[in-house]
């Protein structure tokens, strides 16, 4: 994939997506504080659970930060749309990069045992399996890191990645450059 | 309460209660008592002056040692190379679909017993049955003493 061209003068179209994760990465994104104002000057936030009210993923997105693993059918549909409409897909935080905490349900091997465990075995008194087809998305058998579902361009690990680490990725991308990530400040898990 | 295993004494003595006799002693113990129980393993550890974890670690390393009692009959599908190229994998899969445990038969596999000209073969209670199919194994197993 070609890097985003640095010569294009227009504002970059930036999106953030929240899949199976705790939203902590997005909280960390908000920790960018006053730099967010700078960001707003350099980029249009075209889709984001914390900065935009749009419901459908738009076309022609330049950069997208994806938080969370792929854990249910909604996640799966969305990540396919993201990949199809995004130039630079950033796997944002440990859940996206490793499946992390949502992935711990994979040890139970399958969606059914997870639901049984959560809603029946661990219920006080009378447990009941939720059933709302078409409303609540179905769990996938396993939670997968994003790159096991669609190709990923940049990995931004951390639980959550600190605001400065997020900036170290987004800033060069906005300039049309690939971020160079190494060392404990930039790629440590956890 | 320490249980006693007098039948184990000869093999312990043959190895002079030395640690290097452990596998020989475990082999003999399984022959005598069909499987290895925690009291039996504790007894062996004490007799050979070995830590419990060392005895357990060694016993669990080797395929042939077992920690639960065997079924009345054992049917082992050979999954060596020669048997594999002649369909051992599908034979094993087919047998796995049968309710053999309800007949008192334990199904397992063995990695080549070195009589490959009979491939695919199964070993039933130490008898080798050559050139088997799922049907022939099942009909043979039905003949076994229940």
């Amino acid at each position: 994939m070609e890097p985003v061209s640095p010569t294009i003068p227009r504002k970059q179209r930036l999106a953030t997506v929240w899949l199976a994760g705790c939203s902590g990465c997005h909280m960390s994104f908000l920790d960018l504080d006053e730099w967010l104002l700078e960001l707003a000057q350099q980029a249009d936030i075209v889709y984001s659970p914390v900065a935009c009210d749009r419901k459908d993923y738009p076309a022609a997105v330049d950069i997208c930060l994806v938080e969370g693993g792929v854990g249910n059918t909604d996640n799966l549909v969305l990540i396919q749309q993201v990949r199809a409409n995004t130039t630079v897909l950033v796997s944002f935080g440990d859940c996206a990069v490793t499946a992390n905490i949502p992935g711990m349900r994979n040890m139970l091997e399958g969606a059914d045992p997870v639901l049984r465990r959560a809603y029946l075995e661990l219920a006080d008194g009378s447990g009941q399996r939720p059933h709302a087809p078409g409303i609540v998305p179905e769990l996938l058998e396993r939670v997968l890191p994003v790159h096991e579902v669609v190709p990923v361009d940049v990995y931004l690990p951390g639980c959550p990645p600190s605001a400065s680490r997020i900036r170290a990725v987004v800033e060069p991308l906005l300039r049309g450059e690939w971020p160079e990530l190494s060392g404990p400040d930039l790629i440590r898990f956890g | 309460m320490a249980e006693s295993y007098p039948e184990l004494e000869p093999v312990l003595q043959r190895h002079e209660h030395r640690a290097d006799g452990l596998i020989e002693v475990l082999n003999r113990a399984q022959e005598l008592y069909r499987h290895l129980t925690p009291p039996l393993l504790r007894h062996i550890a004490r007799q050979l002056h070995l830590p419990f974890s060392r005895v357990q670690g060694t016993a669990s390393f080797y395929h042939l040692f077992r920690f639960s009692p065997p079924a009345r009959h054992r049917c082992l599908v050979c999954t060596g190379t020669a048997c594999h190229v002649k369909g051992a994998a599908s034979l094993l899969a087919a047998l796995q679909r049968e309710p053999l445990n309800t007949w008192g038969i334990e199904l397992g596999s063995v990695r080549c017993i070195g009589t490959c000209s009979g491939a695919p073969l199964v070993v039933v209670d130490q008898q080798v049955w050559n050139q088997q199919s799922c049907a022939s194994v099942l009909s043979g197993l039905r003949e076994l003493r229940p």
Binding site: - | A19, F65, A82, C116, Q127
Partner: protein
């Protein structure tokens, strides 16, 4: 009439009723009062296992030996009666047991063999040391003890070019010299009889058919390197070989060929049997030594080599069954006649005649598989021949003219290994074969080093993905690079060899992989 019926009672024929055949024949002979004219004895492997149960007949005077296969085992009396009738009518030369078949001993399967290791296998009763002695057992040991010149023996072994027959092919003479050089009198000779490669049964054949030749080889080695303690580590999956070894060791001790002051010399050497408990990795020498010491069979890095610090910390010579069994023949024949020696193979898979053969080193694979084994049955063509077990590779059909020797096989991306040879016809999916071996290595990995413990699992999963047509071209790349990584970084031969079946099939049968991986795969 004077004749001897040799019934194969080795494990393969035994599984087809060989032992009961021997029993019913002996009974029939006794009932007919023919013991003086007609002898029945059980022997080791007669060769073409696929035609078992096998029966050989040596009829006096000087009639050619006959070999019969597929003998119905039920009625020994009838067989003996028909045999006696044929003898009375002088039609023995054309006789064949009812329901059985006559096997042509002029077939290349027999004619192209050179039997040094297996010379007495199938001839003598392996439970009788008297028969072994009559066939020349322990004579080379006696000579070595009388000459008492270990350096000369080492020199002869070295010059013969004999290499370890267990798989790695290390020069035997060098190994012996290294142990001989070590100071001290407490040294150990270990015989590796943990023949674990699936589809390989050469060592089982030797141990079941002629155990004394192995004991003699060990004793010669012990005297030569200055060891007094011998250990044979044999896998538990070979109950008959274990029984034959126990009998042979006791008999050799009884006849003074093992024990103290062997044959009146100052040489003391005794052999103890250790039975494994199901762990393929114990065929690796450092794991085997751990297992002998009663521990988990986990390989350890070398150096120190066993020659410096082996079993119980003592200098140890460790060779496999076939290597030791070569010794008596080598010393008896001398360098010139011995030549390049032989290799024993077990021939199995999609081949008309399977069994155990011994051929001169350098015989081509085609000769072994097509001429001797008769090629594939039922009009299929050969796709590949697998050698070297889970650490080996596949030789494609168009390269069958490769001579069987260490270097030639290695240049094709496989190894000689211990001698298992599995023929695969054109119905075989080579990716499935690669997966079969990877699953084997995954199951048999001891778990000590990371690349083997975790790498074989990832490789096995990748191969499963490919077989299920769920893989991308990138997965194929990853398969190849992870294979190289596991090969380069694993601690012992099991892990280093585990990727070879994949790498070799990728090299020779890449189309089988590509057929399973769609060219344009978008995840």
């Amino acid at each position: 009439m004077k004749a001897c019926l040799r019934v194969c009672t080795a494990a393969s024929c035994r599984s087809r009723g060989g032992a009961s055949l021997q029993h019913s024949l002996s009974e029939a002979v006794a009932r007919a009062g023919l013991e003086h004219g007609l002898r029945v004895k059980g022997v080791g492997c007669l060769g073409p296992c696929s035609d078992g149960p096998l029966l050989a007949m040596d009829a006096d005077p000087k009639a050619q030996t006959q070999l019969y296969g597929s003998i119905p085992v039920a009625d020994g009396a009838q067989l003996v009666a028909s045999l006696m009738e044929a003898a009375a009518q002088h039609t023995l030369a054309h006789w064949c047991p009812a329901g059985g078949l006559r096997i042509d001993l002029n077939h290349p399967f027999f004619q192209l063999q050179r039997r040094l290791v297996l010379e007495h296998c199938g001839q003598i009763d392996p439970t009788s040391i008297e028969e072994a002695l009559a066939a020349g057992a322990y004579r080379q040991l006696e000579r070595v003890l009388q000459n008492n010149n270990p350096a000369a023996v080492i020199e002869q072994v070295r010059r013969s070019g004999l290499r370890g027959r267990g798989g790695a092919g290390y020069p035997t003479g060098l190994k012996w010299a290294a142990v001989a050089q070590m100071p001290g009198t407490e040294k150990v000779v270990v015989c590796n009889a943990d023949e674990g490669d699936p589809g390989a049964f050469m060592d089982r054949t030797v141990l079941e058919g002629d155990p004394h030749t192995v004991l003699e080889g060990m004793a010669i080695a012990a005297h030569t390197v200055g060891a007094s303690r011998g250990l044979i580590y044999v896998r538990a999956e070979y109950p008959l070989a274990i029984a034959r070894l126990r009998t042979a060791i006791a008999a050799a001790q009884g006849h003074g060929w093992l024990g103290t002051a062997i044959a009146g010399s100052r040489c003391n050497f005794d052999v103890e049997l250790r039975v494994g408990a199901g762990a393929y990795v114990c065929g690796e020498e450092t794991a085997l030594m751990q297992s002998i010491e009663g521990k988990r069979g986990m390989p350890r890095p070398r150096p120190p080599y066993p020659a410096e610090r082996g079993v119980f910390g003592l200098p140890t010579l460790i060779n496999n069954v076939e290597t030791f069994a070569n010794l008596p023949a080598l010393l008896r024949l001398g360098l010139e006649t011995y030549g390049r020696g032989t290799k024993v193979f077990s021939l199995t898979g999609h081949v008309r005649r399977s069994g155990v053969i011994e051929v001169p080193m350098g015989t081509s694979l085609r000769t072994v598989v097509e001429t001797m084994g008769g090629g594939t049955p039922a009009g299929r063509s050969i796709k590949a021949v697998q050698t070297g077990g889970p650490s080996g590779g596949c030789v494609p059909a168009h390269q069958l003219d490769t001579p069987v020797d260490y270097e030639s096989l290695q240049s094709l991306g496989t190894i000689m290994g211990s001698g298992g040879m599995v023929v695969m016809d054109d119905t075989t999916d080579m990716v499935d074969i690669a997966r079969f071996f990877m699953a084997f290595s995954r199951e048999e990995s001891c778990g000590k080093c990371v690349p083997c413990r975790a790498g074989t699992v990832q490789l096995d999963n990748l191969l499963e993905q490919i077989l299920d047509r769920r893989a991308t071209p990138e997965d194929l790349e990853q398969l190849e690079s992870l294979c190289r990584m596991v090969k380069d970084t694993s601690l012992c031969g099991l892990g280093q060899g585990a990727p070879r079946p994949v790498l070799s099939t990728l090299r020779h049968f890449r189309d089988d992989y590509l057929a399973l991986v769609p060219v344009e795969t978008r995840r």
